[in-house]
């Protein structure tokens, strides 16, 4: 076991796969010589050469299209989109091509592409460096969508994505790169070195796609969340002093309905928390699923705590961010409902 932050864990996952599988290639804007703007690919080009770890033109549509062509030609491309906010020029290539290729050719062609992209706010990134567009991709048939919340899961899930036969969008909550952020920007930063999930095996291991994890067992209310908000929810639950079961969804497509709904059926209450905007956000799918599967066990309406339905405002970041205060209020309201 080693101590790693999330950047080091992702780097280690790429390193392991580049070393194990000659088909793996890693590319994107600034990922080669420089090692990525967040350093996730640091040192990999030096180690594996510039035919395996490449810088690309600033053209997200071209990056994903090239990844598709490489995937069709037998490689296992890992493409980085520098910020999730920049992914939209590649939308057609992801939605109409990458996600559909297996289906439209009845399985004769496919491209096992992993798209890594940093998402989420809390870094003063304004509306072009803070978005959480995971929900948009969950609406596309044929592509898997995951988001780890810690170094251990980041490495294990990333390896699963690269080894998976289907395309995956791997969202990296960038506020968590250096430490588990609890939602209070005024507290001193906490590093991963003191967190149990900062312990990461150095070699190959996997965290399965499609499996949620119970972060904290509890009996009174279930909180469904993922990414940065896992840690914010943990903090809020301590503040609210409720015996909440916190579930890190981790994989949105496919979704671990059994784990999520077994918990809600047990606790009878459900709060859903994500950083992305609310309207048609992934929380809506979670809420509908819980309602369909757990209706007769519910003792209170399902509550959602999310980003407001506005673009991410630079100057008002902490009023926008769904912090512990709002989560505590939702927990209290759900607990009070009879």
């Amino acid at each position: 076991m080693a101590r790693m932050n999330m950047v080091q864990a992702i780097n280690s996952g790429l390193d392991v796969m580049l070393g194990r599988d000659p088909r793996v290639v890693v590319f994107g804007e600034d990922v080669g010589y420089f090692g990525g703007v967040f350093r996730c690919t640091d040192g990999l080009q030096r180690k594996y050469g510039e035919h395996r770890v490449l810088d690309t033109p600033i053209a997200e549509g071209g990056i994903i299209a090239a990844a598709i062509g490489m995937g069709v030609n037998g490689l296992r491309p890992v493409a980085e989109i520098q910020f999730a906010d920049y992914i939209y020029p590649a939308f057609d290539q992801i939605v109409s091509e990458l996600a559909r290729l297996r289906y439209r050719t009845a399985g004769d062609f496919s491209a096992p592409v992993t798209i890594r992209t940093p998402c989420g706010g809390g870094i003063r990134g304004g509306q072009t460096h803070s978005q959480s567009p995971e929900g948009i991709f969950t609406h596309v048939c044929g592509i898997k969508v995951v988001m780890p919340s810690n170094p251990h899961d980041a490495k294990g899930l990333l390896i699963s994505c690269i080894e998976d036969e289907d395309p995956v969008v791997f969202f990296e909550p960038k506020r968590l790169y250096n430490g588990p952020f609890d939602g209070d920007p005024h507290k001193p930063a906490v590093p991963w070195s003191t967190h149990p999930k900062g312990e990461v095996p150095e070699g190959h291991y996997t965290v399965p796609i499609g499996k949620a994890e119970i972060i904290r067992p509890g009996t009174e209310v279930t909180v469904l969340t993922y990414g940065t908000m896992v840690h914010v929810v943990e903090s809020a639950v301590r503040l609210a002093q409720v015996d909440a079961e916190i579930i890190d969804v981790r994989s949105m497509v496919p979704l671990d309905v059994d784990t999520l709904c077994a918990s809600v059926c047990k606790t009878g209450r459900c709060v859903i928390v994500h950083e992305a905007t609310r309207f048609s956000g992934f929380g809506a799918e979670l809420s509908a699923t819980v309602q369909e599967e757990c209706f007769w066990h519910l003792e209170a309406p399902i509550a959602r705590v999310t980003g407001w339905d506005t673009p991410y405002p630079h100057a008002f970041e902490w009023d926008y961010f769904p912090g512990p205060q709002r989560i505590v209020a939702a927990l209290n309201s759900v607990m009070e409902a009879k």
Partner: protein
């Protein structure tokens, strides 16, 4: 006082007006120099504004681009082009009879796909557009398979998931046709990059229409191809019309499409797309260059879309009916036939015999294809197969939905045994 004005392009002629192709700059056959395949891109910019031509009006092959093919190869080429045309004609008629839902002909452009596929190697990967069915014909895909795709029947390579003509052929190294235009262009570059990364000498080739060259994907493809000097041939089929929009709406009024290549540092070659020999020679030149680490080539194939865009539009509403007759580069099949006749390797009688033979072949293929099902009369694929291939392994939510549809299908079958459903009955009635 002057003020800014938009220039909204107009084609030289609309319905009722006299066709005018004076805007098409045409070089004399044999007149364009053939540079060494290792020539630096920026030293051969003339290839983007001139027009490589080999065949003259009398069926003679002239100049340095003559690929000097054997008569037997030319006869095979003629056969492929003619088969493509007769296949198109048959499928168009079958659409008019309501047997298939949609079709797109490549009439007048057969030399593009046929010559280019013949000039490439079987291991080279082809990324087709929707009007390059000749690629499948040259590589030997059975017409029955293509027809079954158009019929969405029980032998449909796409399992009933795609509109007609969206073919693919994995073992024949032909990629899947996308209805979203131009997406295949940068994908072909990625494929070619992978070939180079793996140290293989296969190259990729991709096709799109001049209209689709306006898409960002075109720019991505040329940028990536230039940056990495990928072994790829990028083909713009300039057939003058994108549905009802003439080539000026893709920027063709100001500069040839081939001349975009040098803007990226890529050779751009403009070729008479209805001249089988010229298309073959230019493709061979670009392939040799790519295989020897010389990087990509952009080829503009100047041709004319003789038929409608698809079975869904009537070209008489947006262009003069006489345009195809007035097209200065003629008919690719007639031109190769004249050449072979002039060589003493072909005759009108042999041509007519070949036409009869191929027509009978197309008829036989159609008769076989419909035994595997038609849109109107079945048999049909099991609708439950629609849930397969979304993912490599079916996730639980799709399994549940498949079960739900399975119950519906069973109940429907129990309620109304012989009929299929109302929509197909209507279609059958129209036929």
């Amino acid at each position: 006082m002057r003020q800014s004005r938009l220039h909204v392009p107009h084609p030289p002629a609309r319905p009722g007006e006299k066709p005018d192709f004076s805007y098409v700059q045409i070089s004399a056959p044999g007149a364009v120099a053939r540079p060494d395949t290792r020539a630096p891109a920026l030293e051969i910019e003339h290839l983007g504004s001139e027009m490589v031509r080999v065949l003259d009006g009398q069926g003679q092959a002239l100049g340095p681009w003559n690929p000097h093919l054997e008569p037997e190869e030319l006869q095979v080429a003629l056969r492929h082009m003619l088969l493509t045309r007769l296949f198109d004609d048959r499928m168009q008629r079958m659409q008019r009879q309501g047997r298939i839902s949609f079709y797109m002909k490549s009439t007048g452009e057969e030399a593009v796909a046929v010559a280019q596929a013949m000039a490439l190697r079987p291991g080279d990967m082809l990324f087709p557009s929707y009007r390059t069915q000749g690629l499948f014909v040259v590589r030997g895909k059975s017409l029955v398979d293509l027809m079954c795709q158009c019929l969405s029947n029980t032998r449909d390579m796409c399992s009933g998931r795609q509109m007609p003509i969206m073919y693919h052929w994995a073992t024949g190294n032909i990629f899947s046709i996308s209805g979203n235009l131009a997406t295949q262009f940068p994908q072909a570059v990625g494929w070619a990059m992978a070939a180079a990364i793996k140290g293989e000498d296969h190259i990729a080739a991709a096709w799109l229409g001049e209209g689709a060259s306006a898409e960002a994907d075109f720019h991505h493809a040329l940028t990536f191809a230039a940056v990495y000097q990928a072994p790829v041939i990028l083909n713009v089929v300039n057939n003058q019309w994108a549905i009802s929009s003439f080539q000026g709406f893709a920027g063709g009024e100001h500069r040839t499409f081939a001349r975009r290549g040098p803007g990226y540092g890529i050779p751009g070659v403009r070729v008479d797309g209805n001249d089988f020999l010229a298309v073959y020679a230019v493709t061979q030149w670009a392939a040799e260059r790519a295989r020897a680490s010389g990087g990509p080539t952009l080829i503009e194939l100047v041709t004319y879309r003789a038929a409608a865009h698809s079975t869904s539009d009537d070209p008489a509403r947006y262009r003069p009916k006489e345009e195809w007759q007035a097209w200065p580069l003629g008919d690719p099949i007639a031109r190769l036939r004249e050449h072979l006749i002039r060589l003493g390797e072909w005759s009108e009688e042999r041509h007519q015999a070949l036409e009869r033979e191929l027509d009978a072949h197309v008829t036989a293929c159609w008769k076989e294809a419909v035994t595997y099902g038609t849109l109107t009369e079945g048999p049909w694929l099991d609708p439950l197969t629609m849930f397969e291939d979304v993912f490599h392994e079916m996730p639980a939510n799709l399994e549940r939905q498949r079960e739900e549809l399975g119950r519906l299908v069973q109940n429907r079958a129990a309620a109304a045994p012989p009929a299929h459903d109302a929509d197909t009955q209507t279609l059958a009635g129209e036929g």
